[in-house]
Assembly symmetry: C2
Homo-oligomer: 302 residues x 2
């Protein structure tokens, strides 16, 4: 068995994932839970990390590198944003050390500090590092609660945009009148998704009208409730892609950092929208980015 | 004092308003409460109406004409939608009689039963009748939880569109991450509203990105939380108007059926967007429509 070198942690808003990584980059053990930033903000971060290190059987001297919301102002210790444009292989230089047992560091997020397009990310920058070569030029899409689109030129993030797609799906389907139009446990409905997507791509300024039409279509018997969730998903994802396509261009392949069902929906939607898709797994992206940054920080120990 | 002729009722989702109307159309008394459809769906409609009739001191024989959500499927008795295109002065013909004490009737809503643009309204059709002449041709905007835009030709509704503007403002500011970016009791912030409006009009496909930017702008110090609610309102109203302007055209005046602060915001936003605005009061519109329809139903008794 390879010798353990460090612990990689992706500490998000509502999830915690840690991997024990060997000097050659292979994964030796994994530990995950729902102890994300929101959970730890009240119960504390150090005890949660310690419990996972024990579970991983990590050596006492193994350093820990963390990415994600643990570095937010409301997280464990704030790791100030790096400002765009910034090279991804400079991320490690912005890592801050936590005043706790052992060598624990948190990677910074990225800020686009432009008054006309202010934007921020935490965690996705590490995924970007994980899936791009040092001279990468292209567009990356990371679907999620807050979907990100990123333009990278020669290894540097030059521009990005966040869309509230996933969060809007949740609040609209739980708290608006559309809760009567979607089923929580809806089966996958390919034609509903395709119809919502087509509507959004054809008429990208009409989102708030299209949302009401989803309800009206059911009242008038044109649609069924079982297709409601898929149609809502198609509308919101289509609206995101329609805008991003204009801003980031569909003339080159998009690298999609996705996972599971959401990743499949985006693959389908991006292809329908004229993109060539090059797909990477989201967890592998986080882990890969943490390994690259760890090698830059503790290179001598690898 | 003029002789009471009938009782006009605007029975909405969350509000009840009744007026005792004289034969010459003047208002003799008023009674209002928050006993809307949602309240009455569990406690019953008849007792609520009876209590208000007593409060109005309405004569036993005075008939009652109701518009709004009381006629929805989930209301008191369903008054089936009239289908567009339909003349507004034909509304009374679709009124249904309620099986209760006295002569109580409910006006129908309108449905646009087109598979590509399904839409419905209940209550607004009566306001439209109230503010338009028999040969009216033009565009009407009715702001609200579900804002309506209506194209009327020679007294007939030929097309309309509903935007979930008001409801999205509520669910986003209460249930999304933007709850940290808006203050519930925010003072009016004219420049925040104007900035949100300008952003939405300039980039009408970017709503779900603009929503996240509102939060990012505060994190990065470009904006303050006190301006958040006004900016969100400007973004959503601007997004609605940008789409409606394309669909309904800004080449002729828009008749705005508004009230209070929301009416003022729409007046400002419509003017900024290039419309000439002709404003009518929302309650007067409902009452006027009920009076016109009542004269057609019970003409002999006026």
């Amino acid at each position: 068995m390879s010798k353990a070198a460090f612990v990689a942690v992706d500490w998000g808003t509502s999830s915690f994932r840690a991997w024990l990584i060997a000097a050659d980059g292979t994964e030796l053990a994994e530990s995950r839970s729902s102890e994300g930033m929101l959970h730890c903000a009240t119960s504390g971060f150090a005890p949660v990390l310690r419990a996972h290190l024990t579970r991983l059987a990590a050596p006492m001297e193994a350093p820990v590198l963390i990415c994600g919301m643990a570095g937010a102002r409301q997280g464990w210790v704030e790791a100030s944003y790096l400002q765009t444009p910034t090279r991804l292989d400079a991320l490690h230089a912005g890592a801050i050390r936590v005043d706790t047992d052992g060598d624990v560091r948190i990677l910074p997020g990225l800020a686009q500090a432009r008054a006309d397009r202010p934007d921020v990310m935490r965690g996705e920058e590490t995924q970007l590092l994980g899936v791009t070569e040092a001279d990468f030029t292209g567009i990356v899409c990371i679907p999620g609660t807050h979907s990100k689109w990123i333009r990278i030129e020669n290894g540097a993030v030059v521009e990005f945009a966040t869309y509230m797609t996933g969060e809007l799906f949740a609040v609209i389907s739980e708290h608006s009148i559309l809760k009567h139009a979607v089923e929580a446990e809806a089966a996958e409905d390919k034609s509903g998704f395709a119809a919502g997507l087509a509507s959004a791509l054809a008429s990208p300024t009409s989102l708030t009208n299209a949302l009401f039409r989803l309800r009206a279509a059911q009242l008038l018997g044109f649609e069924t409730r079982s297709a409601g969730a898929a149609r809502l998903s198609g509308l919101l994802i289509g609206n995101e892609i329609a805008d991003a396509r204009t801003r980031f261009g569909a003339d080159r392949p998009v690298r999609l950092i996705g996972a599971g069902r959401l990743g499949s929906l985006y693959r389908e939607a991006l292809t329908t929208s004229g993109f060539t898709v090059d797909e990477c797994d989201a967890e592998r992206a986080s882990r890969g980015g943490l390994i690259k940054a760890a090698r830059q920080i503790w290179g001598a120990r690898f």
